[in-house]
Subunit: 199 residues, 2 copies
């Protein structure tokens, strides 16, 4: 049986709750399949949302950026953070405008970031960031030197308070609408990696 996260007032899915999952395997699987997360944080009462790369090691998410970045400065101070990873799997075209939808896998992790200062963990996080987008790549690069490590801030967010929401399959129309002459179905969406372009 897969371990599950306990839903909280911040992570419990309320709309279309049958699409929610709190299973650890589901949530980590979505995190591992994504490339970019959207990080939400609050500065002076205003919400900010910034897309950024991320990586996972065990039950920890890692973000990184320039030491001076607004996002990392805001989160370093222990401010609450909300991280969303969404994979878009398809468009769902129903017979009614109302039942149009999308297929997706989406994870929310909420918590507090902690700046990583221990050198070994910092390098492990940077390695995970490179390996996450291109497995095996770390050993095909020059590793970060001291100056680069000092210019980079790494933040750890524990994956403890998390939920996922998943929609798949075709449209669900009202019974009476199935007689309508409109085409209905799914249009799959896939993020495809093209031919590498050497530098």
């Amino acid at each position: 049986m897969s371990h599950a996260f306990v839903p909280t007032h911040r992570t419990q899915v309320r709309r279309v709750a049958q699409r929610a999952t709190y299973l650890r395997d589901d949530i980590l699987g979505i995190l591992d399949a994504g490339l970019v997360c959207h990080v939400g944080f609050v500065v002076d009462g205003h919400p900010f949302v910034i897309p950024t790369a991320y990586a996972r090691i065990d039950d920890k998410l890692y973000l990184h950026g320039a030491v001076a970045s607004r996002m990392l400065r805001a989160m370093r101070d222990g401010a609450p953070v909300c991280i969303n990873v969404t994979l878009l799997d398809g468009l769902v075209l129903a017979r009614s405008a109302f039942h149009h939808s999308m297929n997706y896998r989406s994870v929310v992790v909420v918590g507090t970031g902690i700046e990583v200062t221990e050198p070994a963990e910092k390098v492990a996080a940077l390695r995970a960031l490179v390996e996450h987008v291109s497995p095996g790549r770390w050993n095909q690069t020059r590793k970060p030197n001291r100056k680069e490590l000092e210019a980079t801030a790494v933040l750890r967010v524990p994956i403890e308070e998390a939920s996922a929401k998943v929609r798949s399959g075709g449209p669900i129309d009202d019974a009476a609408d199935y007689a309508l002459p409109y085409w209905a179905g799914q249009i799959p969406l896939t993020l495809v990696r093209g031919e590498p372009i050497p530098d």
Copy 2:
């Protein structure tokens, strides 16, 4: 000459500022090319980030959802909102781990949402939402009835305070690293629409 938005303390790009654009055409072009936005808002001091569909009419963004949704309830009350649309265009693999990057087009719109109650504007927004994902589709669907309109909340966010950040092209390594024997280049990423699957 294209109209440009005036950068504010919330939209001015600070990190790698040469990748910023405030041109209206650039910003609207990215918004039109995306399918999902990430909406950030604050509830009781906590940031929330939710992925959702959106549409644009002129210089207005429209979001929609169930009348009872937390996102729409939070934003209806005039709370500040941050909307991000990110298109991921490629992975950038450099000779050094430090200079690994991604190619992307990303827009941030900040402002305040206003609930749309005028029926004609509400229907126009729902039409734009359907047409945004599948042009021409609105006339191939049953239009919303009164009950569906009443169950749906539509929110308008003016596109007034906005900026974009764009990265393209290959890796930029330190001069000394070009002699290293590691492969470097771009891996293009494209969101591909597959064969429609009829319901």
